[in-house]
């Protein structure tokens, strides 16, 4: 079970970084209702991140807290896939990033929910309801932007062009994940990949968008090899704890 630690930490990092990016929109969204929606989704991911960090801390058993894990690890120690650390860009970039991740996240949680680890299953059970809302929200926006105006179509296509290369990492198991898959602790990514692809195909069809083909997939985030964006994000995220370590807030 202690082997689960790096995987749970990876889930925690992923949810936190995506929550961070979404929360950057706060007060700057295109419509007040969507400001509210993005803050809401950010809150869900933040809550999920906290559950994972708390569980990871427990699995590690070295007395580290959720805050130690989130605030006192460097970029090369972070294990989130590259997709979620990509900058917000315009609303289309945020939507496409969210949509790709939601497709993975929702299907992952469905698996974890009935997986062998009780605590992960409990977190997934709670989170999958939120994730069902997220995937609905981002799918609807992909459709609106794809089948909206010429400008929205151009922007969403550009966003897909830039972000697609980060989609493959989600379902490409890292060495850690492979070992855990062999032990039955991490679900089969091939199946999730198929479910993702089916959902994406359906949404893109309705959005009159083409699913990209033959894109070279980037990876490395799950092994700590990130893009240069993460360092800046962490400098901001961690500044207070780095400045005043070990205090109560």
């Amino acid at each position: 079970q202690a082997q689960l630690f790096p995987f749970v930490l990876q889930l925690a990092d992923t949810s936190l970084i995506l929550a961070h990016r979404l929360s950057e929109w706060c007060g700057h969204g295109p419509i007040l209702e969507q400001d509210l929606a993005m803050a809401n989704i950010a809150l869900d991911f933040l809550g999920e991140a906290r559950s994972y960090y708390q569980y990871a801390a427990e699995l590690e058993g070295k007395g580290r807290t959720e805050d130690d894990l989130a605030y006192l690890r460097s970029a090369v120690e972070y294990r989130n896939p590259l997709l979620v650390e990509q900058p917000n860009g315009d609303f289309a970039v945020t939507i496409v990033r969210q949509f790709i991740y939601d497709c993975f996240h929702y299907h992952l949680l469905l698996q974890l929910k009935s997986g062998p680890d009780a605590q992960l299953a409990a977190i997934a059970e709670k989170s999958v309801k939120e994730a069902a809302y997220h995937i609905k929200w981002s799918s609807e926006w992909v459709i609106r932007l794809g089948d909206g105006t010429e400008e929205s179509r151009r922007r969403v296509e550009k966003a897909i062009g830039n972000l697609w290369r980060y989609s493959g990492e989600l379902t490409t198991p890292s060495a850690t994940e492979q070992a855990l898959q062999a032990a039955g602790l991490v679900p089969d990514y091939a199946a999730i990949q198929q479910q993702m692809a089916a959902h994406i195909a359906r949404v893109f069809e309705e959005a009159t968008l083409a699913v990209p083909e033959g894109v070279f997939m980037q990876k490395g985030g799950k092994d700590g090899r990130h893009t240069e964006h993460l360092g800046y994000l962490l400098a901001e995220l961690q500044y207070m704890q780095r400045t005043y370590p070990g205090l109560e807030w």
Partner: protein, 316 residues
């Protein structure tokens, strides 16, 4: 006969005096409608702009728990903005027009949000002091004469008092923390105290609309009454926290059973109102930029809804 009948205006005032709520479909004087639209939209704009100074610290919150509380709070403010815009819409104002007035500078928002948030203690001060002052302003509005506004305020006030408690909790944690944290709390109080006192508006002697608004029961206490109430409430809390209120003239007055306190810097007050505060330009630019950069998104949503409607019409 005619002399015995009350005019519409007199009937209206009679209902108000009897504490009967005015509802959207009821007749109301133009001036009442206009004053309310101005007041409610100004309040809605304040929620919207108020997201910025606190939003400024979400990504830098010092713990995951505080980050979560702060994010939820800013989300609540967006929600308040929505209720309030809806309440104003019941009076015939359109959201587009209200936003256009905000962006052009015609409509105002609470001046307090033109001060910058410079340290984590400011998240405490905004909750404790700014929300505290807002509550004093707003609680009476839960009994205001216009129904939709009063009902929106009930919801807003419930959440605001929750926010205020969270702000006080931040201050308390800082004050019970390390010397650096305590200093951070004091430095925050030093910057926020006076601007918060300004939130109650100009002195009664310089607030010409108060009488009419009180008559219409859309205002229930004067600016100076509320300011006094605020000081009397906050000074003991500051003492409890072990913080020093930055006012050398602050003194308990046994006779009036309240505090005497120094005079607000009214020059600063009017300067900020006139647009010369530290962040007036930034706040407005941030809102205008969000609106302009979001134009294509709103257009896409409309265009898509239109396409869908047409397709459904064809299918039907």
């Amino acid at each position: 006969m005619e002399t015995l009948e009350l005019t519409q205006e007199e009937q209206f005032q009679a209902r108000i005096d009897a504490d009967v709520r005015i509802e959207p479909k009821d007749w109301m004087p133009d001036a009442y409608r206009k004053t309310l639209i101005r007041q409610i939209s100004q309040h809605a704009h304040s929620e919207l702009v108020g997201m910025l100074p606190e939003g400024n610290w979400i990504t830098r919150a010092p713990s995951l728990k505080r980050k979560s509380i702060l994010l939820a709070k800013v989300q609540d403010e967006a929600g308040h903005g929505l209720y309030l815009y809806s309440a104003a819409e019941t009076l015939g104002a359109s959201r587009d027009q209200m936003l256009a007035d905000l962006h052009s500078g015609k409509a105002k928002y609470s001046s307090i949000f033109n001060y910058p948030t410079l340290s984590w203690a400011d998240m405490g001060c905004v909750g404790w002091l700014v929300d505290g002052a807002a509550i004093l302003n707003q609680v009476p509005l839960c009994r205001t004469s216009y129904g939709p506004y009063a009902r929106a305020m009930v919801r807003v006030c419930k959440e605001e008092s929750f926010h205020q408690r969270q702000g006080f909790e931040i201050m308390q944690t800082l004050c019970e923390g390390s010397p650096e944290q305590k200093a951070m709390a004091q430095e925050g109080l030093n910057r926020w105290w006076w601007p918060t006192l300004m939130m109650f508006g100009p002195k009664d002697s310089e607030s010409p609309n108060t009488a009419q608004s009180m008559n219409w029961r859309i205002k229930r206490f004067t600016n100076d009454e509320l300011r006094q109430k605020f000081v009397d409430m906050m000074v003991p809390q500051a003492e409890f926290l072990g913080l020093t209120v930055p006012d050398p003239n602050l003194k308990w007055n046994e006779a009036k059973q309240g505090y005497d306190f120094g005079d607000v810097d009214w020059e600063e007050f009017w300067n900020v109102v006139k647009g010369n505060g530290m962040c007036n330009k930034e706040r407005l630019q941030a809102r205008v930029q969000a609106h302009e950069e979001g134009a294509w998104v709103r257009e896409a949503a409309l265009a898509h809804a239109e396409k869908r409607k047409q397709r459904e019409a064809v299918a039907a």
